[in-house]
Amino acid sequence: MLPEVGLTHYLFISGLLFALGIFGVVTRRNAVMVLMGIELILNSANINFIAFSRYGGMNMDGQLAAVFVIILAAAEAAIMLAIILNIYQQFNTVNVDEVSRLKE
């Protein structure tokens, strides 16, 4: 039978999500896919924050940190998509390997 759920279980889930996010960022060439990998990494960090908040005796600081991570993730996604749309208009591709110039 599976063991009782504790702190380590949540940490393992977050570690797995982190590794998958790294893999996505490293291997994918599409800029939107890179953004998805970053979202996975941010989610894994949030799981860590909240798990430590819960198993540290319901200390609310971890949940506050997670709130700020979510805020910054929203801002980051908006800006990155604006940049991606601009890149697509300029270069007609979103392959991050082909976009090597900052200026025309």
Binding site: E4, G15, A19, R28, R29, E39, V67, A77, L81, N86
Partner: protein, 162 residues
């Protein structure tokens, strides 16, 4: 094994499997929709960790906001009708090695560390506690975050319509 444990394993399975699909799927549209299930699974984990306010925030902002933005990004930058939306992968072997090293190190550290776990304190509601802390101890980060959001959204609008 209690009901909460079973629910945890279900949500963990949903999260991890859909994250695998996000990373390994050949079609970017499948990845985007699979990310939806990852976010749902993570929100379920938040509920199990007594973070109800954050679970709702996760659903509102990630599923309702960021995922829709991502889908817009996919559809505006790929020719949905004519060409298949595929995304190539490169350097798979080095990436696998690096990822396995990262996951192995993290898992090893998580396993051998003797975490000090405190018993669960009595608490009323996480939303009211978070609200109190945002207005007292975390007032400065809260205000800075509001300015950051304003600047980021203005900047995004400026960049996107150029």
């Amino acid at each position: 094994m209690s009901l909460a444990d079973i629910v945890f394993y279900v949500f963990a399975l949903i999260t991890v499997i859909s994250a695998f699909i996000v990373v390994f799927s050949r079609s970017i549209i499948y990845s985007a929709f699979s990310l939806l299930f990852t976010f749902f699974g993570v929100a379920g984990l938040y509920v199990l960790l007594n973070a109800d306010f954050l679970a709702v925030t996760q659903l509102l902002i990630y599923v309702g906001g960021i995922l829709v933005l991502l889908l817009f990004g996919v559809m505006l930058t790929s020719k949905v009708v004519s060409v298949e939306i595929k995304t190539g992968t490169l350097q798979t072997l080095p990436a696998v090695i690096v990822t396995a090293a990262v996951a192995g190190t993290l898992g090893w550290v998580y396993w051998i560390t003797d975490w000090k776990v405190l018993p669960l304190r009595e608490f009323s509601s996480s939303a009211s506690r978070i609200g109190e802390l945002l207005m007292t101890q975390f007032l400065l980060p809260f205000e800075v975050a509001s300015v950051v959001l304003l600047v980021a959204l203005l900047g995004a609008a400026m960049i996107a319509r150029r």
